[in-house]
């Protein structure tokens, strides 16, 4: 095993343990903080794969902003005792097992059916430039559509937040 493999396994173990923490911890705030660790672990895997731009965006947007918003929402909406705020749902555990088994099967199938072509020695340099050209070139319509969707969401949020105007 090479050193780089070791790094990958360490990162993967870190991410999985943090993800398990999200599911298993009884305190929902602890879960949210574990989610931040998961995001950072995933970002580490991106770095490891050479996608440093994606990794940094993962940290900036997910770990830095979205998880903070989640913790915010949890803190604002939670009025019960926090230490038991993340109850385990034992009711649907067989259903959950079935669906996660199905999902795992699908994943294994897709991994098995991919050919995994290897390119030797093609180091990725300047990933941000390539991503920029792709976003603004080949996929510009998808990019703009996503932008319009987000804009609509922002306007909707503003209207909801303002409430009805009294006349």
């Amino acid at each position: 095993m090479q050193l780089s493999d070791l790094v990958f396994y360490a990162l993967a173990a870190f991410t999985i343990i943090a993800a398990l923490g999200v599911v298993a911890l009884p305190n929902i705030v602890h879960s949210a903080l574990c989610l931040v660790l998961t995001f950072i672990g995933v970002a580490g895997i991106y770095f490891y794969l050479g996608a440093d731009f994606i990794g940094l965006i993962q940290i900036l947007a997910y770990a830095g902003a979205i998880s903070v918003l989640m913790i915010f929402a949890v803190m604002l909406l939670l009025s019960r005792d926090v230490s038991e705020s993340n109850p385990s749902h034992k009711k649907g555990k067989y259903l959950a097992a079935l669906f996660s088994g199905l999902f795992a099967f699908l994943l294994a199938l897709s991994i098995y059916s991919t050919s995994w072509d290897l390119t030797e020695g093609a180091e990725i340099v300047d990933s941000i430039g390539k991503i920029a050209y792709m976003l603004m070139g080949d996929y510009v319509i998808a990019f703009e559509a996503a932008a319009i969707l987000l804009l609509a969401a922002v306007i909707g949020a503003v209207i909801l937040a303002r409430g009805e105007e009294k006349r």
């Binding site: 965006i57 940290i59 770990a63 830095g64 902003a65 998880s67 913790i71 915010f72 941000i128």
Partner: protein
């Protein structure tokens, strides 16, 4: 003169060569060099901050026609050392109702994050610890993690002032991150790179502060807010929130927060120097002296602002970000893009 210019670079190379001659692999030598670099940064930053705090107390005194600390040592330079010794030996209180793990880890996370900011700063020609291609983006994204540490401190303390302070600081930091990034983006567009050394080299002829005055002003305001410094020190407004997110922290844990704030201050000042004032470039002196000099001058401006302006109200603060700074920075970006397009 030539020796002074490349002193640290040569030293690093000598260490690596020495380690390799002792039979170490190239990777191992690199890792050891990295550890040495980190240790150096941590040491320099700590010493630096002791000086900084003294300087701030002295300058605040001078601005208010006072003398400031002047009893311990010449001009009171040992004052912060006395404070540090006292804080080190103070009782470490962990209130019984706190979320213990979060309460304990929050200051450590905060100081680690603020020290991580130094990784990409080029302190001289070829003197960045890691010369990342995406240096600016790294700085911003790691800096944004600081909100989580503050939120942890506020939540873990189980105190209403802490929580209110944390919420304020998080709202403030997230709102001001957007104009901060947009202002820096204008500079990045001109330089054509996210690498900090490249940005400094692009300022060979003219500093970006002259090319992008609007971006500089918006950046400076956003950075002040991002640092939670006066006049934007709402999160620890002691008249309303006792000490904000730090209310329950005592002794060394509180000192760590304080240390991290000043670490951030120095890092952001250095970033300002790099992005707008030509970084390590300057005549006569070796390059590794120019960045600290410029950063210190910018820091003095931060002090000056803090001790001049009164704190502004929270809703004004948020409205200023969303209704003024973001539209201005967006317009600035559009104008910059158009000009660049037509110049090409």
């Amino acid at each position: 003169m030539k020796g002074a210019e490349t002193f640290f670079v040569d030293l690093a190379r000598a260490i690596v060569n020495g380690l390799e001659n002792m039979g170490m692999s190239a990777l191992g030598a690199e890792i050891i060099l990295l550890i040495i670099k980190f240790a150096c940064i941590a040491g320099i930053v700590t010493v630096n901050i002791i000086i900084l705090i003294w300087l701030e107390r002295k300058i605040s005194g001078f601005i208010q026609l006072r003398l400031g600390p002047n009893r311990l040592g010449p001009w009171g330079v040992f004052q912060t050392i006395a404070d540090a010794i006292k804080l080190l030996t103070k009782e470490d209180i962990i209130p019984s109702q706190t979320d213990k793990i979060i309460f304990r880890t929050a200051p450590i996370v905060f100081i680690i994050i603020s020290l991580m900011l130094y990784v990409v700063l080029p302190f001289g020609d070829g003197m960045a610890i890691v010369d990342l291609n995406l240096g600016v983006l790294y700085f911003i994204s790691v800096g944004s993690l600081g909100t989580i540490a503050l939120l942890m401190a506020g939540w873990g303390s189980n105190n209403k002032w802490s929580l209110l302070g944390a919420m304020r600081s998080v709202a403030q930091m997230i709102s001001y991150e957007i104009p901060l990034v947009f202002s820096l983006l204008a500079v990045v567009m001109i330089a054509g790179s996210l690498n900090m050394s490249d940005i400094v080299n692009a300022q060979d002829k003219i500093w970006f502060v002259f090319l992008q005055p609007v971006a500089f002003i918006t950046y400076f305001i956003a950075a002040t807010a991002e640092l939670n410094r006066g006049p934007f020190d709402m999160p620890e407004a002691e008249q309303e929130l006792t000490a904000g997110a730090y209310t329950e922290y005592s002794g060394m844990r509180w000192a760590l927060f304080f240390l991290a704030e000043y670490t951030n201050l120095f890092a952001v000042s250095a970033l300002t120097a790099i992005m707008f004032f030509g970084g390590f470039k300057g005549p006569f002196l070796p390059s590794w002296l120019w960045l600290p000099i410029k950063a210190y001058i910018i820091m003095l401006v931060f002090f000056w602002l803090k001790w001049t302006l009164p704190r502004i109200r929270m809703d004004h603060l948020m409205a200023f970000s969303w209704k003024v700074l973001i539209p201005v920075t967006l317009a600035n970006l559009v104008v910059t893009g158009c000009v660049l397009h037509f110049l090409k």
